[in-house]
Subunit: 251 residues, 6 copies
Amino acid sequence: MRPDGRAASDMRQIMIEKNYLMHPEGSVLVSFGDTKVICTASVEDRVPPFMRGQGKGWITAEYAMLPRATGQRTIRESSKGKVSGRTMEIQRLIGRALRAVVDLDALGERTVWIDCDVIQADGGTRTASISGAFAAMSLAIEKLAQEKELPLFPVKDFLAAVSAGINSGGEPILDLNYAEDSTADVDMNIVMTGKGEFVELQGTGEEASFTHQELLDMLSIGRAGIERIIDEQKSILGEELTARIVSDVKS
Amino acid sequence: MRPDGRAASDMRQIMIEKNYLMHPEGSVLVSFGDTKVICTASVEDRVPPFMRGQGKGWITAEYAMLPRATGQRTIRESSKGKVSGRTMEIQRLIGRALRAVVDLDALGERTVWIDCDVIQADGGTRTASISGAFAAMSLAIEKLAQEKELPLFPVKDFLAAVSAGINSGGEPILDLNYAEDSTADVDMNIVMTGKGEFVELQGTGEEASFTHQELLDMLSIGRAGIERIIDEQKSILGEELTARIVSDVKS
Amino acid sequence: MRPDGRAASDMRQIMIEKNYLMHPEGSVLVSFGDTKVICTASVEDRVPPFMRGQGKGWITAEYAMLPRATGQRTIRESSKGKVSGRTMEIQRLIGRALRAVVDLDALGERTVWIDCDVIQADGGTRTASISGAFAAMSLAIEKLAQEKELPLFPVKDFLAAVSAGINSGGEPILDLNYAEDSTADVDMNIVMTGKGEFVELQGTGEEASFTHQELLDMLSIGRAGIERIIDEQKSILGEELTARIVSDVKS
Amino acid sequence: MRPDGRAASDMRQIMIEKNYLMHPEGSVLVSFGDTKVICTASVEDRVPPFMRGQGKGWITAEYAMLPRATGQRTIRESSKGKVSGRTMEIQRLIGRALRAVVDLDALGERTVWIDCDVIQADGGTRTASISGAFAAMSLAIEKLAQEKELPLFPVKDFLAAVSAGINSGGEPILDLNYAEDSTADVDMNIVMTGKGEFVELQGTGEEASFTHQELLDMLSIGRAGIERIIDEQKSILGEELTARIVSDVKS
Amino acid sequence: MRPDGRAASDMRQIMIEKNYLMHPEGSVLVSFGDTKVICTASVEDRVPPFMRGQGKGWITAEYAMLPRATGQRTIRESSKGKVSGRTMEIQRLIGRALRAVVDLDALGERTVWIDCDVIQADGGTRTASISGAFAAMSLAIEKLAQEKELPLFPVKDFLAAVSAGINSGGEPILDLNYAEDSTADVDMNIVMTGKGEFVELQGTGEEASFTHQELLDMLSIGRAGIERIIDEQKSILGEELTARIVSDVKS
Amino acid sequence: MRPDGRAASDMRQIMIEKNYLMHPEGSVLVSFGDTKVICTASVEDRVPPFMRGQGKGWITAEYAMLPRATGQRTIRESSKGKVSGRTMEIQRLIGRALRAVVDLDALGERTVWIDCDVIQADGGTRTASISGAFAAMSLAIEKLAQEKELPLFPVKDFLAAVSAGINSGGEPILDLNYAEDSTADVDMNIVMTGKGEFVELQGTGEEASFTHQELLDMLSIGRAGIERIIDEQKSILGEELTARIVSDVKS
């Protein structure tokens, strides 16, 4: 039994609130237990300089936390005048993960800006961000597809992320909260498609190492967590959009 | 009649949701119509270097907007590596306004950090921020007073802010939304105490000027708006905390 | 009686030295007592990106202090690598104030850069800067009008700024020097046109508040100060330029 | 057969040149084929502020590339005034990986600074950096152990890193050079200890995804590569230092 | 004959206005023709970290130009957020030059901050800055010596700087103005003591080179210029201070 | 006799290793004794904005040191987020010196980027950098001349740099190592062409001054050092390239 009463392979409660803000093309408030992230997707009709003239789109992400998303107030990165390594790592990860399930040619010369702003943090902010960002992005692209003639629907598959770890008792656990994350020996972030393939896999021994068997155990419970999140995404996005995403026509 | 059907001296709907986040000592979600701001107050047991050793406290504020709080996505100040002049002006204003109703000696050598994060913007973000920040600060100081022996309750009076303006028809209007703010000739921010005294008054002709009479008209409708907001603050903070704030013992 | 022997509604000695530097299109050295500011106006034949293609001009200001303009040496903002909130607030104020009395359409697609460099500070640097900048700008635009065909003379009215305050004895005083400014309870900056209308009004209770009556008292002595400064501007700029500025043709 | 004639599971030629520079406590020039990195380890007798007073040491890493380490000149990060996300990600990875095989208590309140400077890049700069940095760090800590009384030898196990990938033909390949890295569908960095346990595992589908079986294939060839690099490390560091690192006394 | 009618070895008119500002311990306005620089010296009772505990003083300089000191407005370095290479070079030169004629032990653990702010530029701003800074520094140190017990008078000798060059006609010329500087093939800055010894010598061929004989010619006219400036410094600083500077007791 | 056994006018051992790196158009590893610098030259087919449309080329240089090039680890300038004054001074010097021996018209609208990265420092890093950069640049321009039709060979003369100084015994010495540089009273950097003309001369009294005779002595031994370095450059670059550089056709 874990501190909050969950079994080792239980997810926390997942909630995705659709169209959370009035201005963005797509937006959700995603919760993994007490971790809450506002994810928005904004469509811009041009691509960054290094992509111009190729007829392809781009997806990029930014991530931040409110200063009091955490137990101790953290200094704003705008006040420090620079973005931390941790933030950069997370925003690179979010963008890369989303690009893996989007047909950038079908998107045309457009950029989808993803913004993940953590308003309350209790572990798993990057996995909640990816899972919520996928929903916000799908909503924005659905809106784009309604307004513009797109050759194909650009979103090719579902995408979600979850964390798994080995706790100090040597047991594999799913979707770590902050208290568990702080004491775990191993922390792994798994990003997977609806078809069950890996998009990213990042496992880190925290001043520790892990065996091949422990890796397999974490992947196994992680896969079940991913399925659970994708079910939630599908229920929120609705049958019609779900059908467009999983349709085989595009691949 | 105004675009959203309000009379010239009507406020938009005000809502203050108390204890909005789990980590901060005080927090609210404040709405002035579609403008929504998360205000948090964090107490730190030390003061900035220029205040040390005087036995007095300090109150400082930071303000930011989510990139898609606005109709067009704005670039994150952390990505630009610097805080804009507008942001600095607003956060200086919020801190200065709050300090005017707090007995810094009674606070002791502590800093109250105020964070105002606009998640949705439709005009009046600075007045909503000040009005919400006062509530978050009061909650945090109430909590502090429960945990520590304070000589006096440091919050000396209520404080709220509202905007008034002269629209292009020459009429004074209260609590401008974004559409009105963009076209008004004059924009005034009024910060007032519960006793009806000014703490800040900032009036700006937008490539225009205004007469003494127009000033008096704006102050008159502004005062009514302030009272309306303070009523809302009182109802949220509750009778007991309200009583401590307006008690005459402190002055 | 005030520390330097002035009556409550006395200005300090005002001096405006015309064409102080050889390179700028317009320049003055302005003194309000011991406060001395070099104000220059530079005309550039293009506007910032957000203004392009509208056929309108722009006026923008920068403000700085020499490190030893003050009693204690202050660190150069270029060495710190960023501009302080106070500096930004002042330069935004100067630019906004000047734009209120200039017909930007008549200016054409040109930028007037205002630079206010305080070489000696004794309170009132922002009001001296605005008052001097108006003179430098008028000189530069006069020169522009001599060289280029302008449809109308773009400067529509005189503009000056002065500070007023409530001293610790509760008395309204005009044009505060540094010693007075440091101890005043209320500090108000008033920017007004030659026609006596407000362009900016910024009143701040310094950890204090002020009443409606105190506001009216400060506005009253402020207005007299503004008239005094505009008289000085007129005498420096000369009859011909004064006539062009106040001519009714333009409005 | 691969472009440079290697079999799928062949490493490029590995060379580690010991004591490459005269000043650092430990230094090597490491080559993985045409990728060449100068790795140095510097010992400082204090730890960063967040570690002070715990009696523990710290290991931190910085990574950079000469502008012409690459085919196209890249702009210096010192000229841009900020470190890129990619650089931060790599230096965080190097530091974290090394800390996993060092007993920070045994190190005492000291920091080992690792600097990895890529002088020539042909793919695999981060894996070469980790593998070389381990050698430089071990040399520096050996020197420290000769000069100071340390309770235990702090290096607990060998550590190396290698890349594996799935090429566009769907085949798993080891130690990708730049040409292969640019076209591979999947790129995985594996950091492993001498005992064959994972310290870091980072797999990325480049606008692609990968299956569980592909993961197992990459791990399998990766493990062989790690062993090959550790053999080289042992031969360079010498029998005596190797014996201290693998000794069981410490664990 | 030169553009402004001077002979090849003529200086422009030199003026040094003493105690130009009210706040600094020492200040002058120095003019070399139309080049005008405000030089101030500020005494601080501590030294930078790298000098602490040695009982020695330090002298450091900062240099800047007003945006319209020049024919074209230059962007403020505070707006750009960084100091240019040219500025750094000049401020390092000024500090180094002044330190050569000051007995830092006699100064005690104090820093003299030199600020050179060019208000109008017409060539030779760095030589005017050094020559004026010497005067400002001497005034500040004289004041310090009046207030504190100093073991010896710290200023050991006079110091001045002048430029010399080879014009496009191959002729050596002294104290180049902007027009001459822009077209000269060679530009040399000479910093010399009152005893006629070099402190700095910086000669640069501007996409050109110069011979040994040309060097000797420039040094010869430079020396005469230095003497001329030092005469002016002596007349401004007065007999008593001059006597303390040239007194042999100190060496 | 000097610390390392050299006579006063002896250079340290000079080595220039040609084509040190695989990617740059020109590259060398240059050693002056234990000082080792990687110099590369990169050709880009465009010039900076201020040079565009003139049909002329440009040469610019960047300089950096590895953190452990020195006895104590120095902080990376990319981590500090800004380039130091010393670095800027050196890179401006290198670029200016090289431009003096290149016919920028003959180069066409191209930029040659010089990068000098000190991997080991023992005094004289700037003179080694210039001397090595000349070789790298010549190699890159030779390659350019083989690939493109150039009107003339752009390199007009050889160029080298050396340091000379006056040691604490008052004796002139050539090519100071770090120990000598730290204790010398005077430090002079001499940059000279193959024809024996000066391109740059920078002499600095380190809290000291130097006489005219000492200047002449340093120039005399410096000239001999320059000849020695140019001999080495010629032997490395080969007879054919040497002939093109010294050919009289171009001047």
